[in-house]
């Protein structure tokens, strides 16, 4: 069980020079929990802080406020050197499998480096390293003998991503954080990588945090888990995946879901679907009110002046986990529905 409480991340301002910028608040008090072997999908646009969240979880980035607790142990209470074994339980899978592997080393080398450290810790010999490499490659659906001595350039994008996943498994993680793990992979290969992640969850009891802007992939991974919508470093809606997709109450979630393309001929658009033409430019400024208010077509003066907190959505049809941060929560039906016909795919 991993609990994230009021996590904050502030990138300090840079003054002067070409790269000067103001303070960036990447995360503004994000609270989430990931149960053992559970699945959580985080969706949001670029710049919403979803990648920062994943990097902090994996221990690659420090945080400015809040706390992370793993199995009840608050990491803030530990000295730095004792935190490391906890962060090792969470492994990050990067977006780009083309740059995640060193082109001048074989796959065996990529697998053996972390495995040798494990071998030392577990007092195993070199044969174990080779055996374990083969085991893990087989587990991610690759041919171990054929792959081990290849260089990354000889593998396709999908195969490379499998190697990256196998490498993450070398340290026996409890949670895999997949940051846009399929967005650079060919369409025909995406589903099999998503299936692999779900399969690892079932077989090894590994929790999955799936970070993406593709809502359909998020749903596929977290079909029995939770969906979290981030906007500018804040959770704006959270709940059971299908509930959020079918009955979103926050206007930002509704905008994201409306933006998903409709497969015309197979699906029909939801009755409340709305695509704004403006409002897609960056809004840097922030007032005291709701961060989404400048882009929201339902915003009122209340939204400009006060900041909505994340509160439970109490409605007869909703479950207790459904939370939102909006003064005027109204469920809208925006997603496409499949057209029923006999010869359906």
């Amino acid at each position: 069980m991993i609990e994230v409480r009021k996590l904050e991340k502030v990138y300090p301002p840079v003054v002067g020079g070409l790269l000067s910028h103001n303070e960036v608040r990447a995360l503004r008090g994000v609270s989430l929990s990931i149960s053992d072997g559970g699945a959580l999908s985080i969706i949001g646009e670029s710049g919403c802080g979803k990648t920062t969240f994943g990097r902090i979880l994996a221990g690659l980035e420090s945080y400015s406020g809040g706390d992370i607790a793993m199995d009840g142990i608050a990491l803030n209470s530990l000295p730095n050197n004792e935190r490391q074994p906890y962060f090792r339980r969470i492994q990050l899978i990067h977006q780009d499998p083309y740059t995640a592997l060193n082109p001048s080393h074989t796959i065996l080398h990529a697998m053996a480096v972390p495995l040798r450290i494990q071998a030392k810790l577990q007092k195993k010999n070199d044969d174990w390293v080779l055996k374990r490499s083969k085991e893990l490659l087989a587990m991610v659906g690759l041919d171990p003998v054929g792959t081990l001595y290849k260089y990354p350039h000889a593998l396709s994008g999908g195969q490379r991503q499998r190697v990256v996943i196998a490498r993450a498994l070398t340290v026996d993680p409890k949670v895999l954080v997949a940051d846009e793990a399929v967005s650079m992979i060919d369409v025909s290969m995406r589903l099999s990588i998503l299936n692999l992640l779900s399969d690892l969850r079932v077989r090894l009891g590994i929790g999955i945090v799936f970070i993406t802007h593709d809502v359909a992939a998020a749903r596929y991974i977290a079909k029995d888990g939770a969906l979290c919508v981030l906007y500018r470093g804040e959770v704006v809606e959270y709940g059971q995946t299908d509930e959020i997709i079918v009955r979103p109450v926050h206007p930002y979630t509704q905008a994201m879901l409306s933006a998903m393309p409709v497969l015309r001929g197979l699906e029909e658009a939801g009755p409340d679907r709305y695509i704004p033409l403006e409002g897609m430019d960056d809004f840097e400024g922030e007032g005291p009110g709701c961060l989404f208010a400048p882009r929201c077509r339902h915003a009122t003066t209340l939204c400009q002046e006060q900041h909505p907190d994340l509160v439970p959505w109490d409605d007869r049809l909703s479950s207790s986990s459904h939370h939102h941060a909006c003064f005027y929560p109204i469920p809208r039906n925006v997603v496409a529905r499949p057209i029923n016909r006999e010869n359906a795919l």
């Binding site: 646009e45 195969q159 369409v187 290969m189 749903r219 997709i245 393309p261 430019d281 010869n343 795919l345």
Partner: protein, 339 residues
């Protein structure tokens, strides 16, 4: 010039062909041999419609886009075929000045990653004036006026964006500027190569909406090259599915998505997770995307990943045949493919 282009088997009686591609073959010569990036592609691009060319990496879709502009560069070479435009004849025969007057004023192009294609050291407005000068545009004020109109049309403040440097604009705005630069010379054909790939979901849907409305307003013939079936389904009228340098299926988007006939089209549609409906219906497609160096010389290019494979597929390459009015499929087993 002015070849009379005939429409072959289109459901729409009034359809006119803007661009006719016949037997187009593009070969890449490398140290390890010659590889066909495009193999005898036949295609009619219908006037005033949006035609989407869809395929995975290695399908030859971007090479096809370049060939339409007569822009295939070394080590690639057009070895066969023709690209005929209604009033310009075979584009592949154009050279020098004639070719320069074709690219831009006739076919406006937004290339892949064009949001990074602008000169970072010049203001956007100046780059538009440069464009006009290199095409001998007589009246620069008229050109800027046109750019301002387009910017307003795309929900941007013209006085801000035209005086800005590219780095002062967001990714979505730069992408829209790319479309403005393609349209400012008033071409009749708009060629878009992966116009929304690097964009956020909300920006993508807005850009698609803009492409759709401008297409309608100006009666453009739009060619959209993409790997994203969702984008295709959202805006196109016709779809051309490519695999390993061949057209495997083409037809009206609505009909093709409703009743896909080629095993590849069916498999790829099934491999896309959906927002609603039964998730267990999604099935991954086995095997790897086509590798140009390993495309078999004989037989069907898709057979190694196909579940309908028969011995004939190893020997004879299927040709694109009409299965319905305006719906073409290249598959030996087409009649048998049903659930």
């Amino acid at each position: 010039m002015g070849a009379d282009l005939k429409v072959i088997g289109n459901a729409d009686q009034d359809a006119q062909v803007e661009c006719q591609i016949r037997d187009l073959t593009v070969t890449f010569t490398t140290d390890s041999g010659e590889f066909p990036a495009l193999n005898h592609v036949n295609l009619d691009i219908i006037k005033s419609k949006i035609t989407a060319i869809v395929g995975e990496s290695g399908s030859g879709k971007s090479t096809l886009g370049l060939a339409i502009l007569n822009g295939v560069a070394f080590p690639g070479k057009v070895t066969e075929g023709s690209v005929d435009f209604a009033e310009h004849g075979n584009v592949l025969k154009l050279r020098g000045k004639a070719l320069r007057h074709f690219r831009g004023p006739v076919v406006g192009t937004v290339f892949q990653a064009s949001q990074n294609a602008m000169n970072p050291l010049a203001r956007v407005g100046k780059q538009i004036l440069d464009l006009g000068r290199s095409h001998h545009y007589k009246d620069p004020r008229k050109l800027l006026h046109e750019a301002e109109n387009l910017a307003r049309r795309m929900a941007m403040d013209p006085s801000r964006v035209l005086t800005a440097y590219p780095h002062q604009l967001s990714g979505g705005m730069r992408q829209r500027m790319g479309i403005i630069m393609a349209l400012v010379l008033k071409p009749k054909v708009l060629l878009l190569d992966e116009p929304t790939t690097a964009l956020d979901l909300l920006t993508q849907s807005a850009v698609l909406e803009i492409i759709r409305s401008i297409h309608r307003e100006r009666h453009l013939t739009t060619i959209l090259i993409t790997h994203d079936m969702g984008v295709v389904a959202e805006i196109s009228d016709y779809i051309v599915v490519m695999y390993a340098g061949r057209v495997v299926e083409q037809g009206s988007t609505h009909e093709t998505l409703r009743d896909p006939r080629h095993p590849y089209t069916r498999a790829i549609l099934r491999a896309i997770p959906r927002l609603t409906g039964d998730l267990n219906r999604a099935r991954p497609l086995e095997g790897s995307p086509p590798d140009l160096t390993q495309i078999p010389a004989t037989g069907c290019v898709f057979r190694s990943r196909c579940s309908y494979r028969v011995p004939q597929c190893d020997l004879v390459a299927p040709i694109l045949e009409s299965v319905d009015t305006g719906h073409f499929v290249a598959c030996h087993q087409e009649g048998l493919i049903r659930d």
